[in-house]
Amino acid sequence: MVMLDDFFVRALLAGIGLALTTGPLGCFVIWRRMAYFGDTMAHSALLGVALSLLLSLNLMVSVFVVAATISLLLLVLQRRQALSSDALLGILSHSTLAIGLVMVAFMSWVRLDLIAFLFGDILAVTVTDIAIVWGGGIFVLAALAYLWRPLLAGTVNAELAEAEGLKPERARLVFMLLMALVIAIAMKIVGIMLITALLIIPAAAARRFSATPEVMAVLASVIGVAAVVGGLFGSLTYDTPSGPSIVVAALVLFLASLLPYGRRRVEQPNP
């Protein structure tokens, strides 16, 4: 495939695959008010990077394992109710990031391009990376579709969902694992610091134009794709870093969604 030889086309393909995945997932992140939670999981990815270097493990696998472990640890700590959730998140978020940085500094035998991990290097994606993004993305979306009802009902009210025969807790657990998987996949593309932006901003931009959760999930994907395309072309034109450019493009779309348009909100007027 000659086309795939071009680094820009590879970047576009990887970015679009990722944006399609993060759209619906990001909707749940904002509905469940888990933005900071996602951030914490993403920050813990650097600990995963350090561990993979130390133990010579596959990078993506160790990032996934660390992110998943952190999310489960949070679940356990939240049950104990010793500290508030946001304090716990702050502690875990920054300590895992710091431990990762310290560990990397100790490993003087490795030369690590930290910036690539923190902010991504989408222009360096390989064909294998594209395959992983699309394969992983299809898996995540399929799992999300399968879990849609219990996850959505559990988001509205977990007790209601459980009383009426669904299993919201199980759905929530699988959702955490899917988040960890997406973070492992996305790290190389937008970097640890910006993954949550790709989850949250397209979903937030989609809110205004959606009448149902399903429409919002699809629209979030579409807006995410637009942000990736716009950001990458912008980065090419103005020679700006690609990951941050994608986030800036997403932000522009979000701000555009706030503009007052001629028509009223899609739903009925305020009572």
Binding site: W31, A161, A163, E164, G165, E267
Partner: protein, 312 residues
């Protein structure tokens, strides 16, 4: 109120000596009750008395730390939780809310919304509903599922007085029509009790139980709700030959629909009811006319509320 054969049927759910222990204290202990098909069981009690906790044990959301909860396998629950808020970031229309936990046919959705009087709000976002409208939507969602057991935790909170009676009538009619069991939690004793088969009065434990009339007379109940409660909280047991429509109008037995009634139309009981407030336990009267409860000034005493018309 129950056909006798129902009493022999196995309960949908039964709690025996069940209790929940959380954060170093018992939320509720020694809870003992069962709900059968076609039965309305009402849990009453002050705030924090364990009503919601008991209901959650019954539907399996909380597992008991002591005692036992037995549930018939595979029955369908419709649940209206006490508190439910939908985050504004989630776009959710009333219609979409209806199918939150399972698919429904369009007919069932429309019929359920009509029965609670909010069919016109099907396309509205739930965040834009008033408290009373949202409660109606939640109730519609629960009944549209055609449940075997309907669990209603303060189902009429925020609903106006006229609507409250209409909704309680609706709940009774659902029981009569579908034969489902109903577990009702309420602090509002005036209207609920007469249609209830069993009232369980909770205060961290079961303090009394029985038929509505028996409970409202029991010393434990009076202690909990105050000495005057027994006199002022009359049992609502009208024989209805008319139906209160959700929009406040009334349909008569002969099928006519009217807006209001006025004093002197021959159907009021001024003479009979004048004088000091008095108890109406077991009081039954037949109507062949309209009650527009919304127009009657709600008065603080249950006895007046009970009559609810034409005395202003």
């Amino acid at each position: 109120m129950l056909p006798p054969e129902n009493l022999n049927e196995r309960p949908l759910v039964s709690l025996s000596d069940a209790g929940v222990f959380r954060n170093g204290r018992w939320l509720v202990r020694g809870v003992d009750f069962s709900v059968r098909r076609g039965e309305i069981v009402t849990l009453i009690g002050p705030n924090g008395s364990g009503k919601s906790t008991s209901a959650k044990m019954a539907i399996g959301v909380l597992s008991p730390d002591e005692g036992k909860v037995e549930r018939q396998p595979g029955f369908r629950v419709g649940y209206v939780p006490q508190k439910l808020s939908v985050d504004w970031t989630m776009p959710l229309t009333v219609r979409r809310l209806m199918t939150l936990t399972g698919s429904l046919s369009d007919n069932d959705i429309v019929a359920a919304l009509e029965s609670v009087g909010i069919a016109h709000l099907a396309g509205a976002e739930v965040q834009h509903l008033s408290g009373g409208e949202f409660q109606r939507a939640l109730l519609a969602r629960a009944i549209a599922r055609k449940p075997d057991l309907l669990v209603l935790d303060e189902p009429v909170q925020g609903v106006d007085f006229a609507g409250e009676i209409a909704l309680y009538n609706l709940i009774t009619s659902i029981r009569n029509r579908t034969g489902c069991g109903i577990l009702l939690i309420s602090h509002d004793l005036h209207v609920v009790m007469a249609e209830t088969d069993t009232v369980i009065c909770l205060n961290g434990h079961v303090c009394c139980r029985g038929t509505p009339a028996a409970v409202s007379q029991s010393p434990e109940y009076m202690r909990l709700f105050g000495a005057t409660a027994g006199q002022t909280l009359a049992v609502y047991s009208h024989d209805h030959d008319h139906t209160h429509l959700p929009d406040g109008r009334v349909r008569h037995a002969d099928g006519s629909v009217t807006d209001h009634c006025f004093p002197g139309d021959g159907h009021h009981h001024e003479a009979e009811h004048e004088g000091e407030p008095h108890s109406h336990h077991g009081h039954t009267h037949e109507h062949d006319h309209v009650h527009d409860h919304g127009r009657a000034a709600p008065t603080p005493t249950g006895a007046d509320r009970n009559k609810g018309h034409g005395h202003a």
